[in-house]
Amino acid sequence: MKAHRKLWIGLLVLSVLSPLGLLLPAWLGAGSAWGEWSAEEIKGLIGYVPARMGRLSSLWHAPLPDYAGPGASPLARIAWYAASALVGLGLVVGLSLLLGRWLARNEQSTGVDN
């Protein structure tokens, strides 16, 4: 289980370093991912905003949209990005442990182990 612990630590380190995924694109002048433009960006690209796009895009309001919270300063953006990584990590781990345990519940009764 020692290996597992190292892997968990590795993931925590990656979470703390995650703001690199925000800073590197900004430093190198890279824009949005292809097909993930905002309404304004789309208007700049093709000259109009597709008619039905807005209706669907305002369907869901995520609590931490784009891994950001309140505060527009660069430091706040960086801190929220790393905090989002940790929050997301907690949620993903919690959900997958719950689901995994539920899925593995029959292991004992089948008695098969390899």
């Binding site: 990656l14 190198l28 097909g35 209706r55 593995a104």
Partner: protein, 232 residues
């Protein structure tokens, strides 16, 4: 590669959910049969790795950004059905909590990144790794190649979904109602950036982790031997 809400019309959204729901059911059944309690933490690790690695946006200077997904790594360690579950969980949290990828497009995003990617990538890994010992170079090379091909396949599927939208829904003047670019633009755009840059990032991430595990936790690599995985 996370398609936002508003880019896919109702037909594509409904169709991809209609494909994903039975696939999620099959994945659950497969894992209920094969997943061991001691593998559950590894499933959580895989899902967490996928979530975090997707936050590392890699820039093409002056151009677009992309990221690795980690789906093939999970497939190498636990099999493609477990990867489907692990990556789906990561995508669901990203969509609901962070608005990364749409709610209406969740079925499509899961189909591309949690099904096409791990299955294609795992196939390539099996082809190259074969029955080689867990310490063999063929393992990490196969995993890296699987990561590359899997991510490119996933990007191609995403490009096709984008590219079909102007065909499926447009107004009388021919203006798109959802994603605007035709297949002849969307598919090459998605393919080029993933073939040239992001595929290599995925290959590196997948190959490096597998090489590390070969040295430090070889039992994890042994978990998906052909004999164990191939049975239906």
């Amino acid at each position: 590669m996370h398609i936002p809400d508003g880019y896919l019309g109702p037909t594509t959204c409904a169709a991809s959910y209609a494909v994903m729901i039975p696939l999620w059911a099959v994945a659950s059944r497969k894992l209920a049969q094969s997943l061991k309690s001691r593998q559950v933490p590894l499933l959580a690790l895989g899902s967490a790795f996928s979530f975090v690695i997707m936050m590392f946006n890699v820039p093409i200077p002056g151009g677009t950004t992309g990221h690795a997904v980690g789906a093939v790594l999970v497939a190498v360690l636990l099999g493609p059905w477990a990867a489907c579950v692990a990556v789906s969980i990561a995508l669901i949290v990203q969509a609901l909590m962070f608005g990364d990828g749409g709610i209406t497009a969740l079925g499509a995003n899961c189909l591309n990144m949690a099904v096409i990617m791990p299955f294609v990538g795992y196939g390539v890994y099996r082809l190259i790794a074969g029955a080689s010992p867990t310490t063999s170079r063929r393992r990490w090379v196969g995993a890296g190649a699987g990561g590359y091909v899997g991510l490119v396949a996933s990007a191609a599927a995403t490009g096709v979904m984008f590219g079909l939208q102007p065909l499926l829904a447009h107004d009388a003047a021919g203006r798109a109602l959802y994603a605007p670019y035709p297949l002849s633009v969307a598919l090459p755009a998605m393919l080029a950036s993933h073939l040239l840059v992001f595929g290599w990032v995925e290959a590196l991430a997948t190959g490096l982790v597998v090489a590390y595990l070969q040295r430090h936790a070889p039992t994890l690599i042994a978990a998906t031997k052909p004999a164990v995985e191939v049975q239906p």
